[in-house]
């Protein structure tokens, strides 16, 4: 991977990029290991929540309601944040957002900034713009640091460097931090990062962050993280600049009680991530930065909002669970998606952020197995949006190609839940003759007939599970009822 940012406008098509990635066995091994570990942890902490499905439903409704009244909640946020001493900026697109941030940094006279991991600033390639203006951005999240020092690109929303193993990380750190000796245990590597960054936390006076949630009711901002680098960047600098998509707003403080339960369990498989920070404007008594700016950025989100069937894409809380669950992502890793948003969420978000002018193959980067939908904490029906986008892509290219007709039939299936389930079950029956088992007894499909064949030319498709989560869940509930629970 080169140091060039992932840019959907110039990236190769998914099939081409995926083919290249499939040749990198080390990468595939690293990705499969990491996603496997997170999935196991997630399953454990989701299983222990008796009201998980109710939380998902509430999460879905909160997000849907927010999008329906986005203008109302953004203005409420703006008003409350301003009253608390924050300065609110608006940006129509990435270019405008970059210009605002670079301008603010230059007004501070800053030559360096410390950064908290933020997919939104990756999306707008902020680091490149800062560097062009003579400002050095230090990534402070361990994974982002690995990527920045290794001149690499993120491959996962939550664990951006999951494609690197310890030997690779050790080599990068040793070279870039000029360390003579360095052990290769994760502890040694984390210690090296701590020493490297501490001096920057204490010295650099300007911080740049993204946001997980903007609270309309209070004007507060919430960031969740693990390492404490976020808290350092939010607390120690004199100036803090936050860049947030307009989709990040939530109506009330109370709504966090839902999202703060859904997000960590889905993202890292923890009951709660180590740190959640909430701050509101500027603290009058000198707790934290004296100046706080927030940039509310559209960057094609209103285009998605206007598309009734695509709109649910904006409900995403960036937990990454769909990536870990996706058999395609697990094979190709994140870079093949040609965007900082990879996996199923990337397959629907990226083309829409590009208004379908680029990344047209991404809606096809899925076997429509439905695993992403089942794990999504806010119940985004990703397969449905994929089909919808395929239709749109096809409409752009012409309506009567065989592809268009087949896609239309698929669209019908996904629009009805009953039909979707029937199709899932049929899929398992129909695929049976094509499945071969690997060493671990895992089923793989090396060849698919007809239309889908193009897909299996570049990858093996994991066989559908014998029982879908949904079927398992229902059966489990039934058996619990019969046990009198």
């Amino acid at each position: 991977m080169s140091g060039q940012p992932l840019d959907p406008r110039t990236a190769p098509t998914f099939p081409a990029a995926a083919r290249a990635m499939l040749g990198d066995t080390q990468l595939r091994k690293n990705v499969r290991h990491a996603t496997g570990v997170i999935q196991t942890k997630r399953a454990r902490v989701v299983e222990e929540m008796p009201d998980w499905q109710e939380l998902r439903e509430s999460g879905r409704q909160i997000r849907e309601h927010t999008m329906r009244h986005l203008d109302h909640y953004l203005q409420q946020f703006e008003q409350n944040c301003t009253r608390a001493g924050g300065v609110v900026h608006w940006a129509r697109d990435a270019e405008e957002a970059r210009r605002i941030v670079v301008g603010l940094v230059q007004a501070e006279g800053a030559r360096e900034v410390i950064k908290i991991k933020s997919m939104t600033t990756e999306e707008i390639q902020l680091n490149k713009a800062l560097e062009a203006a003579g400002v050095h951005p230090y990534e402070t999240d361990l994974a982002e640091l690995i990527i920045q020092l290794g001149q690499d690109q993120p491959s996962h929303i939550v664990v951006p460097a999951l494609h690197k193993n310890r030997q690779q990380i050790r080599e990068i750190f040793q070279r870039e931090m000029h360390l003579g000796t360095l052990g290769e245990s994760p502890q040694d590597l984390a210690d090296a990062a701590r020493r490297f960054l501490r001096e920057k936390f204490l010295r650099v006076k300007t911080g740049v962050s993204g946001a997980n949630f903007l609270i309309a009711e209070t004007g507060g901002v919430c960031i969740v993280e693990s390492e404490g680098n976020g808290r350092m960047c939010l607390t120690l600098p004199e100036t803090l600049i936050t860049v947030a998509g307009i989709d990040k707003v939530v109506p009330t403080f109370k709504d966090l009680e839902v999202l703060l339960q859904l997000l960590p369990r889905s993202a890292t498989g923890e009951r709660m991530n180590p740190y959640n920070s909430i701050w509101t404007g500027v603290d009058a008594d000198g707790d934290g930065p004296r100046r706080f700016h927030i940039v509310l950025m559209d960057n094609a989100r209103t285009e998605i909002l206007a598309d009734e069937e695509g709109r649910q894409t904006l409900h995403c809380i960036r937990c990454g669970a769909c990536q870990n669950a996706c058999p395609v992502y697990r094979q190709t890793g994140g870079h093949a998606y040609g965007s900082v948003y990879a996996g199923p969420i990337g397959a629907i978000l990226t083309p829409q952020l590009q208004v379908l002018n680029h990344a047209q193959t991404l809606p096809y980067a899925s076997s429509l197995c439905g695993a992403c939908y089942e794990v999504c904490p806010v119940k985004i029906n990703i397969p449905e949006v994929l089909i919808h986008l395929r239709n749109k892509v096809v409409r752009k290219k012409g309506p009567l190609t065989p592809e268009a007709l087949a896609m239309r039939a698929m669209g019908l299936v996904f629009r009805s839940e009953r039909r979707f389930r029937a199709a899932q079950r049929m899929g398992r029956v129909a695929e049976a003759p094509l499945v071969r088992k690997d060493g671990q007894g895992q089923g793989w499909i090396g060849w698919l007939p007809g239309l889908l064949g193009g897909w299996t030319q570049v990858r093996d498709l994991q066989a559908m599970p014998q029982q879908s989560f949904r079927e398992w869940w229902e059966q489990r509930e039934k058996s619990e009822v019969s046990r009198g629970n």
């Binding site: 690293n30 570990v37 008796p50 009201d51 109710e54 939380l55 439903e57 509430s58 409704q61 309601h65 999008m67 009244h69 986005l70 203008d71 109302h72 953004l74 608390a84 900026h89 608006w90 129509r92 402070t140 361990l142 664990v159 999951l162 193993n165 994760p186 590597l189 984390a190 990062a193 701590r194 960054l197 501490r198 204490l202 009711e217 209070t218 507060g220 693990s226 680098n229 808290r231 607390t235 120690l236 307009i246 009330t252 403080f253 839902v258 890292t268 923890e270 009951r271 709660m272 180590p274 920070s277 909430i278 701050w279 509101t280 008594d285 707790d287 934290g288 285009e303 909002l305 206007a306």
Partner: protein, 220 residues
């Protein structure tokens, strides 16, 4: 220019959603959001405390149950065992709780560098959430500025039993009146799993956490 962008974005949003109902209608719709998840404790308070202890230990924190009179002596023992010599404490922390015989500096705007030169911090807390093993700190007397519980490597936290709730929704309800204060939720020591998904304790935040659960702290 900036106002243009604001108007442009808001106009696009209104065109996309095609509606602009009044605040009251929006609030009514918000109230109609389904919330059938657990909002109350299912255990008795002793059960809730045991759950918290279990969760905190799961994060490699130590937890001791003490009476208010014992805090000072136990705190001194814990700090000594960790090799702590100088600690920072927030304004408003009851002096009777401070570790006996240990140098404690009250924070009156210490710089980050000064904080970096101290070994640890001792604070109270606003509340704790048993189900997730979370402790919540706010910008109030006895808990202090966010920086003091961040820069030093060791945190000794005093949690009154009355401040422990079982679930996240109970915690948010209690925090609602002070929702605009700077608030930090922390769940165990700082951690990362960025390298091969191996959980490493302690990256930038405090690496070591001791909790004193006080059975006869002040009532809320």
């Amino acid at each position: 220019m900036a106002t243009d962008a604001r108007e442009a974005v808001l106009t696009r949003i209104r065109a996309a959603t095609g509606n602009a109902p009044e605040t009251r209608a929006v609030m009514q719709e918000w109230q109609g959001i389904r919330r059938q998840y657990r909002q109350h404790a299912a255990r008795d308070h002793e059960g809730v405390l045991e759950l918290l202890i279990d969760r905190l230990r799961d994060y490699d924190a130590t937890v001791q149950r003490v009476s208010r009179d014992e805090v000072s002596a136990v705190a001194a023992r814990l700090a000594a065992a960790r090799g702590i010599r100088r600690m920072v404490v927030p304004e408003g922390l009851d002096p009777a709780l401070l570790p006996a015989g240990l140098a404690c500096e009250t924070d009156r705007g210490l710089s980050a560098e000064e904080l970096d030169g101290l070994d640890g911090v001792m604070t109270g807390c606003t509340l704790a959430i048993a189900e997730t093993g979370t402790i919540v700190l706010q910008r109030v007397a006895g808990q202090g500025r966010r920086a003091i519980s961040l820069v030093p490597d060791y945190h000794l936290c005093v949690v009154d039993e009355a401040r422990v709730v079982e679930t996240v929704p109970e915690a948010m309800a209690r925090l609602q009146p002070t929702a605009a204060l700077a608030t930090t939720f922390f769940s165990g020591p700082s951690a990362t799993a960025d390298i091969e998904m191996t959980r490493i304790k302690g990256v930038h935040g405090p690496r070591f956490l001791d909790v004193l659960l006080v059975r006869d702290g002040e009532r809320l």
